[in-house]
């Protein structure tokens, strides 16, 4: 983890009609840092993630990623990855097909290299040989791992995790949290986890940021 600031959120506001969800919210995240946003339901955690991704426009303030203002950058060009709360593995593609969607074709890699990248990441997440598996046949934990792998393959500057462990049983959850953290640390990837579970936050994050209703 370096001291270089990768994400800078300054005084952002977001409201839906009369409901102020984010009110002058500020946050700075260093490169390689893993933080957890902890707070009760409705405090704006998920809204903050959606603003970071570009799915929601902010009313005022700014979000800078690697020093660049994100205001007019569409989600697909922001270099942000996200693991959603719900399963977002595309059901019309198998595990390999899902992973290949995460690999950019702009990096001059040929088809064989892309397949190799997909296989390697599966080995890294402990799902070696799962390439041809139908995504519907994966267990909850396996599906989460594949989603994380797909996100990692897209080489984002920051990964956002929107309560991805909430539907898992405790033993599986703790193992997956540790494995995910280890992987992120090895690759020195910045991450923000949204959760309302203190134990999960402590296990996963370098720093916990408490959010409350504005």
């Amino acid at each position: 983890m370096s001291n270089k600031i990768i994400l800078e959120i300054e005084n952002i506001r977001k409201s839906y009609l009369d409901n102020n969800v984010l009110n002058d919210y500020c946050l700075k995240v260093n490169e390689g840092e893993i933080i957890a946003l902890l707070g009760p339901s409705g405090c704006g955690k998920t809204t903050l993630l959606r603003c970071l991704c570009g799915f929601e426009e902010i009313d005022s303030g700014y979000i800078k990623l690697t020093g660049k203002d994100c205001a007019n950058i569409p989600p697909e060009s922001r270099d942000v990855g996200m693991v959603f709360q719900s399963n977002t593995l595309f059901p019309h593609k198998n595990v390999q097909g899902n992973l290949l969607l995460g690999i950019s074709k702009n990096k001059n890699n040929n088809a064989n290299e892309r397949l190799e990248l997909a296989s390697n990441i599966l080995t890294e997440i402990g799902l070696e040989g799962f390439e041809k598996r139908d995504v519907a046949s994966l267990s909850g934990g396996e599906a989460r791992r594949v989603e994380l792998a797909r996100t990692l393959l897209s080489e984002p500057k920051i990964i956002l995790l929107d309560e991805p462990f909430s539907a898992l049983n405790k033993d599986l959850k703790n193992k997956l949290i540790r494995d995910t953290r280890d992987l992120l640390k090895i690759k020195n990837i910045t991450a923000i986890l949204v959760t309302h579970d203190l134990e999960e936050a402590e296990l996963f994050a370098d720093r916990i940021v408490q959010m409350s209703k504005s």
Binding site: Y16, L17, F55, P74, P75, E76, G81, F84, L101
Partner: protein, 597 residues
């Protein structure tokens, strides 16, 4: 919103509005000029023509009676399909709902074959066509003219629209959480069947019943082929418009025709507008039924008990409806092998033959054979598929996106705009389905052809009506599927770096492949079977479609015995193609789809 996205949002709406409203506007302007009357003054002229006398009352009466009986017969079928685990339940439902996709000309000639002298009813003394036997006695006793024709028309409308009741009612009945029914049984307000009906089933189902009723009423009100062939001496407003439409655009000569068409079109538009507003309101109320949905894995159907009294009653009812649904289709196929043969000086008998099938590519009418008409139909259907399906997908996507934009809008103004943009687009796209095929045909022939006569030389011209009529079916097939897609799929794809076009082709469209097959099959079936608009635009000729050609063959003087078996063979081919398309629709229809097409 980016410029490209904005263009994709506005362009289909503008294009469709122009295609729907511009011909109608031109047509109405032409009619008002030729009729020299205002639309409302023209209403009073309908009764002044012999064919128009009693047409308004007849239209409302036949549509109302058709609706009431269809709903009454349909409710028990929907209930039993939803509640009992019949052997082959899925196939039974597919058969019961099949008539809705059948071309109206097939229903017309099927019922003609059933009620003709070679049909199964004649030997039983039921002669609905010539009205001898029991029907003649009813007519003599009551003074009711042509009761047989009216009965045949109502039966055909029921046959056609039974599917609507089943499609609207079966899903809420099968998805109703059993715990809700169990809990009401334990309360004073639900301890007998009548109180449960009053306090649970009727409040829950009445919006669906009403929506099915409105749709059945509209389709019966605007039916043309069935009225033309089954009640030859009675006119509905739709038939008046179609049969007087040819001369209605000619100044001076066509003044009377223009008045009758203008008056009929005015009543029809007002009635349909009221029905559509009612339907929209009912469907909004309908959405409150969703919380009753079953949770995943729960099963609503009870095992079918073969020996109970109610099971025997239900079996008898199902078999009766099964025979009713299949009979006209079997009659069409059977009639293609039957030919009239003279016996002695005055008599005729029917014999088995293959000549009808052998004459498919040789027997011509207006220089067109059935085979040529079939290829014309396939050409129009292909064009309809190519335009209506992408257009419908874009419309469905836009409606869904507008709903989402309304939900996430930051200001009340934006929320209001997107909400009504979505609703307006939804109504716009349903409009051609509601205003009737004949009215679309009149818009095209009186509006576009009178203004630009050279358009009639363009081979693609008749397909305009087909595209307009097929697009609502595409939207209604795709929209529920788009709404049920996990919205996070698209977001996840965006974060993987896929742009909007790439997302559309790599994620959204593959996920919608099933509903797209359904929509494409429906679009093909609708185009192949389209009758009213094509009949008005083309009448008959070298570019005639198969349904219009079959109609023309039946209109031919009956001296040539080959005409009927050949027309029936052509109808059998059309029926077979429609059946294949229907199988595709049923195979790829999403589980639990209902309330839509």
């Amino acid at each position: 919103m980016r410029k490209g996205a904005l263009l994709l949002h506005v362009a289909p709406t503008l294009l469709f509005s122009v295609l729907v409203f511009f011909p109608l506007y031109l047509g109405f302007t032409r009619l008002i000029t030729v009729a020299e009357l205002s639309p409302f003054a023209a209403i009073w002229q309908i009764d002044s023509r012999p064919s128009g006398t009693g047409a308004i009352a007849f239209t409302f009466i036949e549509a109302s009676i058709s609706t009431i009986i269809t709903i009454l017969l349909g409710i028990p079928i929907a209930w039993t399909l939803a509640r009992d685990n019949w052997p082959g339940r899925i196939y039974l439902r597919a058969i019961f709902t099949m008539p809705f996709v059948m071309p109206s000309i097939i229903a017309a000639v099927g019922f003609l074959a059933l009620i003709g002298t070679d049909g199964p009813l004649y030997p039983l003394g039921i002669d609905l066509r010539q009205q001898n036997g029991i029907i003649g006695e009813i007519s003599d006793a009551t003074g009711w003219e042509n009761p047989g024709h009216f009965i045949a028309l109502i039966a055909a409308h029921i046959w056609f629209n039974l599917a609507l009741t089943i499609r609207f009612l079966e899903p809420p009945l099968s998805n109703l959480n059993p715990n809700i029914e169990e809990s009401i049984k334990l309360l004073p307000g639900g301890n007998n069947i009548f109180s449960r009906m009053k306090n649970l089933w009727l409040p829950l189902l009445s919006p669906n019943i009403a929506a099915a009723s409105v749709m059945t009423f509209i389709f019966s009100f605007t039916s043309f082929a069935l009225v033309r062939w089954l009640t030859p001496s009675s006119y509905t407003l739709e038939r008046l418009m179609a049969e007087h439409g040819g001369a209605a655009g000619i100044p001076d000569y066509g003044m009377g025709d223009a008045q009758i068409v203008l008056g009929s079109a005015t009543i029809q538009l007002i009635t349909i507008m009221i029905s559509l507003i009612l339907l929209n309101w009912l469907q909004k109320r309908n959405s409150t039924a969703v919380p009753f949905a079953l949770s995943k894995g729960q099963n609503r159907q009870k095992p079918f008990r073969e020996m109970s009294f109610t099971s025997i009653l239900k079996t008898f009812y199902f078999i009766s409806i099964l025979i009713f649904v299949m009979a006209p289709l079997i009659a069409v196929f059977r009639s293609s092998f039957r030919i009239r043969v003279r016996t002695g000086d005055v008599g005729f008998t029917q014999q088995w033959t293959l000549e009808g099938w052998n004459s498919l590519s040789t027997l011509s009418w207006n220089q067109t054979t059935i085979t040529e008409a079939l290829f014309n139909s396939l050409g129009y259907a292909a064009l309809t598929l190519l335009i209506a399906v992408p257009l419908g997908i874009i419309f469905a996507h836009n409606i869904h996106l507008s709903d989402e934009l309304a939900t996430n809008a930051r200001t009340r103004g934006k929320r209001f705009f997107w909400k009504y943009w979505a609703r307006g687009n939804d109504l716009l796209v349903m409009f051609p389905l509601a205003i009737s095929a004949v009215l679309i045909g009149l818009g095209v022939s009186l509006g576009l052809l009178n203004t630009w006569p050279s358009l009639s030389q363009k081979w693609w011209f008749p397909a305009i009506g087909h595209i307009l009529i097929a697009t609502p079916f595409v939207v209604r097939s795709i929209l529920p599927a788009i709404r049920s897609l996990n919205p996070d799929y698209s977001k996840a794809a965006a974060l993987l770096g896929l742009g909007p076009i790439e997302r559309m082709f790599k994620i959204t469209l593959p996920l919608l492949s099933g509903p797209i097959v359904v929509a494409s099959s429906l679009a093909l079936a609708i185009s192949l079977g389209e009758f009213g608009a094509t009949w008005v635009v083309l009448r008959n000729g070298a570019s005639s479609t198969l349904p219009v050609h079959i109609d023309a063959l039946f209109s031919k003087p009956g001296f040539d015995p080959l005409v009927t078996p050949t027309a029936m063979a052509g109808a059998s081919v059309l029926m077979a193609i429609t059946l294949i398309l229907y199988v595709m629709v049923e195979k790829y229809r999403p589980d639990g789809a209902g309330g839509e097409f």
